[in-house]
């Protein structure tokens, strides 16, 4: 039995699904939020491609060819646009590394001989006064 191509087996994309993933470039909003004339024409263009049987990725490619890459709500994970995903991840890792180095350095300094000692526990009269205060406030 011949295997059907994956694209042929996949259900056709819905206008609603695509509207949520592409922009109305003039309006600067998602297409699903736009009721402008340009948004309406873009929507009609998508509907024609759906009727023609195009897949979601084919429709997005066609939209980019017509309106430019800014029509995509999310940048593509390739080429220069990949930096939109890489830079936040690298920044996060750098922040974690900086935090880890900072904590390690702080602990090393704290354990170093001659570093400022922790405050000593109260003794003598001060200790008695503290005990009395604690008893008075039932702490």
């Amino acid at each position: 039995m011949a295997l059907l191509p994956a694209a042929a087996a996949a259900p056709p994309p819905s206008l609603t699904a695509i509207e949520g993933e592409v922009m109305c470039p003039i309006c600067g909003t998602l297409l699903e939020l736009s009721d402008s004339p340009q948004g309406q024409r873009e929507r009609a263009f998508v509907e024609r491609l759906i009727a023609r049987g195009d897949s979601k990725s084919q429709i997005k490619d066609a939209l980019v060819a017509q309106y430019g890459p800014r029509v995509l709500a999310l940048p593509r994970a390739s080429g220069f646009d990949l930096s939109a995903y890489l830079i936040p991840a690298i920044a996060f890792l750098a922040a974690v590394a900086a935090l880890a180095i900072g904590v390690a350095r702080w602990r090393r300094n704290a354990n170093r001989p001659g570093s400022k000692p922790a405050a000593a526990a109260p003794r003598g009269e001060a200790a008695e006064r503290l005990d009395a205060d604690i008893a008075r406030y039932d702490l």
Partner: protein, 174 residues
């Protein structure tokens, strides 16, 4: 300079570089009368090959930025067609640049209004940004040397063409 200072300086430069890139990529150009017209080879709408404003050097060019979804462009297109027919033999070309549009709609627009003046097509917002455009339609009169003689950020009508474009072209000066 310590390694820590160099790292901090590099981090600051990276942030400033990213911010600058963001501002430059979003910003629109500011153009003025007397400036060279922003020009770039663009695909011919509905045809093969590319064209640019400089192809008409030696003639006056009325560059019209338009889109099929724009209602004022529908009112303006027949006027521009008549103007083009009247003036094409007298040294003026109307050149349409379809922007922020899709090609099938743009071609349907050209057929519907019987437009025969040359048409180019710009994908995305790059050309609009180059002209400092704030919307469509916008019109730019370019002198025979390729310099902007008039900038009109809106639709033209018969009176405008007669009173603002014709005298400049007939006078041969900007």
């Amino acid at each position: 300079m310590s390694a820590r200072s160099i790292a901090a300086l590099l981090a600051v430069l990276a942030v400033v570089g990213l911010l600058t890139f963001g501002l430059l990529s979003k910003g629109s150009a500011k153009i003025a009368v007397g400036d060279p017209v922003p020009d770039k080879a663009l695909p011919v709408l509905g045809g093969s090959g590319k064209g640019k404003i400089a192809d008409y050097r030696g003639r006056w060019v009325l560059v019209n930025l338009w889109a099929s979804w724009c209602p004022p462009c529908r009112r303006e297109a027949p006027l521009l067609q008549r103007f083009w027919r009247r003036w094409s033999r007298r040294g003026l070309t109307v050149l349409g640049i379809d922007v922020q549009d899709n090609a099938p709609d743009a071609l349907a627009f050209v057929r519907r209004y019987g437009l025969t003046y040359p048409q180019l097509r710009s994908v995305g917002e790059e050309r609009s940004a180059a002209f400092g455009s704030t919307g469509v339609p916008e019109n730019f009169l370019v002198d025979p040397r390729g310099r902007l003689a008039l900038i009109w950020r809106g639709p033209v009508d018969e009176a405008f063409l007669r009173s603002r474009i014709v005298p400049v072209v007939q006078g041969g000066s900007s």
